[in-house]
């Protein structure tokens, strides 16, 4: 049998396979370039960028939990200017779609970021992280109210012709309602899930472990929640969905495809096995061969539920 077709397309972004790196877990690509052949990946998603550099939160910033971890990095990033100057040159040399994850404190900042990114030819797509507090709206996350999500996505949509992927927060009552709001604002695709909000306590010192008190919960532990939300959203909207959450192996990734995801992102697992994304691509291809599946796209949404 000839090699199976692993390629997928998301909002016009052609990928050689459905396996991407998740924002904030793979730096700006270069950090892992000695461990991973970046040109074997479907796409690279950068650390979340903002207009100005962001120093991030005090330490400690991370803690391990049963089957997962909490992080309170505080969106530390070099800012878009330093990204263009210092990080882009490397990414330019890599023949793999680069998706820039970004955020802002206000709708205007989101729009301005989109305009800036729109002008960068090496950027294949934009991923909006809307799990951030809206400073104008008393700090409630854009991602927790449909109306707020709709209008920030609309603002970004009108600021770029590049594919806009909206990354949904799982800390909501109704993920489908959020998905619809983003789709209605003409998002090209949705990625989910971002981290859940969790907390760890240092019993000895009677203090939260994280300086920020709460942190983003990720890793294998969250996979059941991610799978459920991806399945609900993919069943409800017409735009492509990118599955994220607790993926550590090819079978995990394939489960997300069955649930309706067109592609996946791998986050925390990179920390444990730097080459995990490449392994997942390899094992996914093996799975297709062994099961006589000619095209990975045949698995997308193939769940019988």
């Amino acid at each position: 049998m000839k090699k199976p077709d692993l390629s997928v397309e998301i909002a016009g972004i052609k990928m050689r396979n459905p396996v991407m790196t998740a924002s904030g877990t793979f730096g700006y690509g270069e950090e892992y370039s000695s461990y991973v052949d970046l040109e074997r990946l479907g796409g690279i998603v950068t650390k979340g960028l903002s207009l100005r550099p962001k120093a991030g939160n005090p330490m400690p910033r991370i803690v391990e939990t049963p089957g997962g971890m909490l992080n309170a990095i505080g969106l530390q990033n070099v800012g878009i200017d330093a990204f263009i100057e210092k990080k882009l040159p490397f990414l330019r040399t890599v023949n793999t779609p680069v998706i820039v994850n970004f955020f802002g404190n206000t709708e205007d900042e989101y729009a301005e970021m989109a305009e800036r990114l729109d002008k960068i030819p090496e950027v294949s797509g934009l991923e909006m992280n809307i799990s951030c507090p809206n400073v104008k709206q008393g700090g409630i996350a854009f991602g927790s109210r449909p109306d707020a999500a709709y209008s920030v996505v609309k603002a970004v949509r009108e600021s770029t012709i590049k594919p806009v992927i909206v990354k949904l927060s799982p800390n909501v009552s109704d993920i489908v309602e959020m998905a619809h709001a983003c789709a209605d604002a003409d998002a090209d695709a949705l990625s989910l899930i971002n981290t859940l909000t969790g907390m760890a306590i240092d019993l000895k010192n009677r203090k939260p472990v994280l300086a920020n008190v709460t942190g983003g919960f990720s890793g294998p532990a969250i996979k059941p929640i991610a799978l459920r939300m991806v399945w609900q959203v993919a069943s409800a909207v017409d735009i492509p969905v990118i599955g994220i959450g607790g993926i550590t192996k090819a079978t995990d990734a394939l489960e997300f495809l069955l649930a309706g995801a067109t592609a996946v992102q791998v986050g925390t697992a990179n920390f444990i096995t730097p080459g995990v994304t490449e392994n997942i691509v390899r094992d996914m291809e093996r799975y297709l061969v062994e099961n006589r599946i000619a095209d990975v796209k045949d698995l997308i949404g193939a769940l019988q539920a």
Binding site: S34, K47, P58, M59, P60, M69, Q76, F271, P274
Partner: protein
């Protein structure tokens, strides 16, 4: 690099402290003192993350079969404190585990004419011993070892075998002089401090006071820090420490795994 490794030996060297020898590819021989490795102690999700450990020693041993290539190894000195080190402690000869490294920047040995002053406590002695092995031949080296009680004083004989004089202090006086080793250090420097460099690794209070002493005597001091780590390669930004120019308005964070773990004492905001 990342490599599968086999346990060659795993033994207790002092109550609560063990030494483990792990097979490693030849590239490991390029590792520098002060660099560390991240060990995955168990396949599966419990524990999930790798555990960072400083490199204590490197070497090669004759293979079991004459025609086989030389086998290289790395050694780690670890204290059993929780789940990961607990599992590490339970490993037997020929068990496998997964190692990532060498990682981080390592110490800068500096001018070999200077006297090298190593200051450490607990497992902080591990990277200092590795450093001493490389310095002993070229430079004068002294080591100052501190701990709560005598069980926490490691590697004295190992240092002496290198012909390095060890000054020991314990809080309870069960070994060496009673009190803080940094007090012993200060006495020693009081007799003359120029052309000396301090290399420190151990609990933060020890590092802080070593840094203060170095500043007082105007001599260079390198410290090796710790932080909770996830990736070990500078990707997650989880392991930061405060740089000397840090303020709440203008934060200045450094990655312990990538910019460190070794920093000039003057680069770090103490307190």
């Amino acid at each position: 690099m990342q490599f599968k490794s086999m346990v060659v030996l795993n033994e207790q060297i002092s109550p609560g402290y063990c030494r483990i020898r792990l097979t490693a590819p030849r590239e490991i021989m390029h590792a520098k003192p002060g660099q560390f490795v991240m060990v995955r102690v168990f396949e599966g999700i419990d524990p999930l993350l790798r555990r960072p450990f400083g490199i204590y020693d490197l070497g090669s041993f004759e293979p079991e079969y004459p025609e086989a290539p030389k086998q290289h190894y790395i050694e780690i000195l670890y204290k059993v404190v929780g789940r990961g080190t607990g599992i590490l402690h339970s490993l037997h000869r020929n068990d496998y585990l997964d190692v990532l490294g060498p990682l981080g920047n390592g110490f800068d040995p500096g001018n070999s004419n200077d006297e090298k002053i190593l200051v450490g406590g607990g497992f902080g002695l591990a990277p200092l011993y590795f450093l001493a092995k490389q310095l002993a031949s070229k430079s004068k080296v002294k080591v100052f070892i501190g701990g709560r009680k005598k069980e926490d004083i490691l590697c004295v004989t190992e240092f002496e075998r290198l012909g390095i004089e060890a000054y020991v202090a314990t809080d309870d006086g069960t070994l060496g002089s009673m009190g803080l080793v940094t007090e012993v250090l200060e006495k020693y420097l009081a007799e003359g401090a120029n052309h000396r460099t301090i290399f420190a690794c151990g609990p933060v209070p020890m590092l802080k006071s070593a840094a203060a002493i170095a500043e007082r005597y105007g001599i260079p001091c390198q410290v090796s820090l710790e932080a909770n780590m996830a990736c070990g390669v500078g990707a997650c930004l989880g392991c930061v420490t405060r740089g000397s120019r840090h303020s709440d308005e203008n934060p200045d964070y450094r990655c312990v795994c990538k910019d460190g773990p070794v920093f000039a004492a003057t680069e770090i905001l103490w307190d």
